[in-house]
Symmetry: C3
Subunit: 285 residues, 3 copies
Amino acid sequence: METNKEEQLEWGPTVWSHLTALRDRSPLIQCITNFVSMDLVANTLLSAGASPAMIHSLQEFSDFTPHIHALYVNVGTLSPDWLSSMKAAALLANELRKPWVLDPVAAGSSQFRLNACLELLLLKPTVIRGNASEIIALSQAGIDMGPTKGVDSSHESMDAVEAAKFLAEKSGSIVAVSGAVDIICSSKSIIHGDRLVFVHNGVPMLQKITATGCAVTALIAAFVAAAADPLHAFDATVSALSVFGIAGEMGMELAKGPASLRMHLIDSLYGLDQPALLSHINITG
Amino acid sequence: METNKEEQLEWGPTVWSHLTALRDRSPLIQCITNFVSMDLVANTLLSAGASPAMIHSLQEFSDFTPHIHALYVNVGTLSPDWLSSMKAAALLANELRKPWVLDPVAAGSSQFRLNACLELLLLKPTVIRGNASEIIALSQAGIDMGPTKGVDSSHESMDAVEAAKFLAEKSGSIVAVSGAVDIICSSKSIIHGDRLVFVHNGVPMLQKITATGCAVTALIAAFVAAAADPLHAFDATVSALSVFGIAGEMGMELAKGPASLRMHLIDSLYGLDQPALLSHINITG
Amino acid sequence: METNKEEQLEWGPTVWSHLTALRDRSPLIQCITNFVSMDLVANTLLSAGASPAMIHSLQEFSDFTPHIHALYVNVGTLSPDWLSSMKAAALLANELRKPWVLDPVAAGSSQFRLNACLELLLLKPTVIRGNASEIIALSQAGIDMGPTKGVDSSHESMDAVEAAKFLAEKSGSIVAVSGAVDIICSSKSIIHGDRLVFVHNGVPMLQKITATGCAVTALIAAFVAAAADPLHAFDATVSALSVFGIAGEMGMELAKGPASLRMHLIDSLYGLDQPALLSHINITG
């Protein structure tokens, strides 16, 4: 896909200012995420400049959640108990007017999980980030479609543009689909208006590392939390996806496989400076 | 131990064809494993070419488990709730004629855990993979022997040959004992017949990395899942242990300690090609 | 802060002998720790020479806990169920006269968590290790102070000297505060007497890696377990903090960011020899 030099010149300062805001404000992100991802999610947030807190017990929310800057909910290793916590935390985040971000991992892999995601969608996440299969599953919910395969995506992200638009309209959330090209869209019914942006940063090998999807969704929560204004949540989401993808590209230059990529990705995210960001950024739409 | 050039010439193509099948088929492996191991297990499976899904809630099994290619059960951080899930998943895997693999972590460390492992054994795992202490504990169950030490092995794997043979006879499962030399055996009562094979690949420092045992058992599940025929499960098990050990040997050439070994191990598993495999393979028996 | 050459000459052999004891005895450490930290805690213990066992189910304690050399309790991802296990394990450790070590992660972040930590304090941990905010929260408990920020420290560790002294007096435990300078103190009411020591080893980037605090507390448990005499628990605590900090300094020489620091830290801990230890050690007080 061709990219427009002018577009990058516009997006560059936006993405850099979002990253700078994140590093300056070090937002506190409450994470209710799956067991597999906790280490990578926490290290991604720390490297980016945020402050993660994995707090999932109902007993703590009334004291703790008022102090957070965003909530991150990820249904990866879902169980009924944890689902209760997720819903209570999302409700409280809404009451407190804190942004919250949903990662509907493997949304279509069981009716229990799909229903859980739909219940969470009703609580109006600020942003939903999934792969193509997950976003398609959520957009088609109600239509029988059979389970999708595990947590990997069996669809290309470009197939999911229509599904993403439909889900954005239906949910009122910003919808991000990650893949070879990341899609970010919002509908005209919400304050962000009818927008559709594509992020071309990233490398395929990220899919060979567990929880990179979970990590980028957590990063979206941190970028949204650090944005000065709720109106900037859309650009914050685009920025998070671009920054994570750029860290992946820079990591890939040094990597010899998935495990060294994981290390270099986090190191690159930590050290990312303005020239590197501006030379790698690749956003269209 | 001396190895026979001819044997390697026989095993080489077998192991390579099993690895190729795994990469081509990318089997979906449902993992119900301990909290410590989830990251390494998922990354090991991804690097080898499989697709991991950590799904442990009973609510999801009827929808999800029919789509898997193998189930992996690991009792590491056992609790009564998770044991219920493990048993239900194993039962369902049997009904669906899916292979399943058991890792009886620290089997002898408490009566609760030993009983749990024995209950799981009754559900006829395709393969059981443990260290010498664990396999000895399972083979002697019913005979009082006192708890074994933690999750590490206090026995050399060669001490466990008789225990493994006995357990294979008793359980009808393929039994793998990992250690300085890995032992894989099956009894004459099952389709694989009376076999006993030794894998000499691997390096001692793997024991200084948590969850490498868990990871290789998951890899066995993936190799067994990818095998064209249940009759090939024995060779698939041998292949998984050899491939993991070879990745460890190749990683060790670059490693400066346990953490860099862990990284290079996964990178090597991802990149393992036929010449490297054939030059490192070391299987006897 | 200036350091005294003579002091290092005294501490050097002490710290080295504690590390050697740990490597020789390979103590079995039962860990009831948070989900985020399990991988790093286990790998830290293995690299240092200890044997970790993550066993949190009540059903196993009566069989397993008699065989351990120390218990490590960390309240990171606390829930009511896990708190019950922590209290039961601590009680049993006391009955069995095993040392146990408490990490009061984010102690001040909710009333539930603060109460949990206070209940655990009543069970007289041998050592408590927290950051400045956590130790201040525990020392002030009963005085309203509002929640502290997440799991990060918002206080410099030197602010916590008085809090640590007060908590040591109140609890009868050895109290360690980690930060730019680590503080270790005990009160005159206990066998270790009225001591106050400062460890200057470590690097700031350790705070950008999740669970390094949890890992060093686990290491304290291992050093205390390996000490020949309960009277040496104070020096063992100082030694653990110094050794971990030195591994961090050595790792930092090779690191390009938090993820590579994490790897080199563990490798350095594994390979740490006497000359490197003696040249880096920096303890005062």
